[in-house]
Amino acid sequence: MRLLDWLVVAGYLIWIVVDGLRRTKAASQIEGYLLANRSLPWWAVGLSVMATQLSAITLVGTTGQAYADGMRFIQFYFGLPFAMVILSVTLVPFFYRSGVYTAYEYLERRFDVKTRTLASVLFLFGRSMSTGAIISAPAVILSIVFHWNLTLTILAIGGPTILYTMLGGVQAVTWTDVKQMAVVVGGLVCAVIALIFGLPHDIGLGQALHVAGAAGRLNTIDFHFDVRQTYTFWSGLIGGLFLHLSYFGCDQSQVQRYLTAKSLTQARHSLLMSAFVKIPLQVLVLMVGVFMFLFCVFNRPPMLFNTEYRDSVEQSARAADYHALESDFTRAYERRRDAATKMAAGADGDRDTARDEFRDATKAMQAIRGRATVLVKDVTGSASYGDKVGDTPKPDVNYVFPTFVTTRLPQGLVGLVIAAIFAAAMSATAGELSATATATVMDVYRRLVNRSATDAHYLLISRLAVGFWGIVACTVAHVAVQLGSLIEVVNRIGSIFYGSLLGVFVLALGFRRANGHGAFIGLLSGICAVVIFAFHPATKNVSYLWHNPLGVGVVVIVGMTVSLLTSPQHAA
């Protein structure tokens, strides 16, 4: 990074912190701090909903995913618009009209305090871990790519976010989210434009897209029904529907966003904004990955993107083997580039021959990358290095976008894209911190510890809770680097709660006879069933998207069975 890039990143950080701190005055009472006095316009809330969902790892990981595996990831979101409509009809009016601070507060009104507390504690456990991962993932990538100090990178992301969230509350979170979304979209659009201009001048956009298509990067829809595959039409539509119902309907980090809207209609509009905009936005993110692939068709890509692993091999006794593979890789790359050039320019007959040659050369490059992967695995002992996304080693996927940014973008634009990565990480983190603090204060502290304190006291406790969860997130982010795959397991467990939480809300709204005992035991049963399903050898290969319908089903069946066997006076 050069001086101009540093100035852009520093300017972004100062702008966001100053803007966040400007909102402190509006957060002088607890309702202003946690719900913005229900005063925010739908478009700001809608952008905040999207900013909370779009973390840096989504930005960096998804572009890498499209580079390696194409656009089929988009199917993950096919259930989202349906989920938004269902939530707008069902949960949103219930939450909004009941005047709750948290989604789980509604569970006490409908069932009992133990169901509310269990749901809230599950949320707090899952979110505290995932917030650490939200900070850790981009910090690790940026520290490796730029050789920055990891601790300082974590603090550069976490520090300003904790500061403005702690002082400005949900107002600061929402209005900074709006600006951060602008930075993210601006960075992505600039990256796409730079990539298009990086293509050879004699190759048109349509011809280039045909080259990407020949490599399978534009396969968007797969109608095969296979529960082991996450990115198919049916997994996205059905499994994704349940996942998004759970995330947007039962996760406090999203529920809190739309509870801040001016009115019920505005709350609904804020959710429906995602239904319209999320998929086009995700197409933009994925197109960055596709254009990076095209750029690397005409400009030699690194054999391995993760410089840390690459350096380890080059400094080992197997360096000569690695360099021999590099030479083979260069020859295969040149063959593929020439075939792509012929394919783009040739007549129909020539194009078919060139396409076959292009696919052969692509396979040769994949095979050489595979051998390099084995070499890295032998030298570093990294067990996960053998896993692949498309034709790229899994640990390499997250380094594709940062490598492109640092080596190919002009001065200033590098700073803008790095600011966009910071923006994505900070906006997601701020939303999580605000939500975990709200659940801590409203569901635990005010409900179970101190029920009659003043508004000022709860405001102070809320600010301390943001600070506490911020420190926890930064600590988890730091420890996550050492834990490696363990943190993935923890995150996987966190996502296991989603379907079961949705099941409790389905019980609450759809079954009048359901009671507190049924909801509580149903929730525990749902979680146990999904944990067994996720880790049992016979079912562990089923995509996690299908865990959510399973969780809902178990909670409803067990919950209703227990409700029918116990006294109906527990029913509301």
Binding site: R38, V100, N219, T220, L264
Partner: protein
């Protein structure tokens, strides 16, 4: 202790929901066409 009473405007949303479904179906169709056209 709950938050303040809310502004409960019951604006009809049926057409908006229909528009969401229509736009989403169109987007899926465009993505399918896009992938099919350039992958051949």
């Amino acid at each position: 202790m709950s938050a303040q009473p809310v502004r409960d405007d019951e604006t009809p949303m049926g057409r908006t929901y229909a528009l969401v479904i229509l736009c989403h179906s169109t987007v899926i169709a465009i993505l399918w066409w896009f992938g099919r056209t350039f992958s051949q």
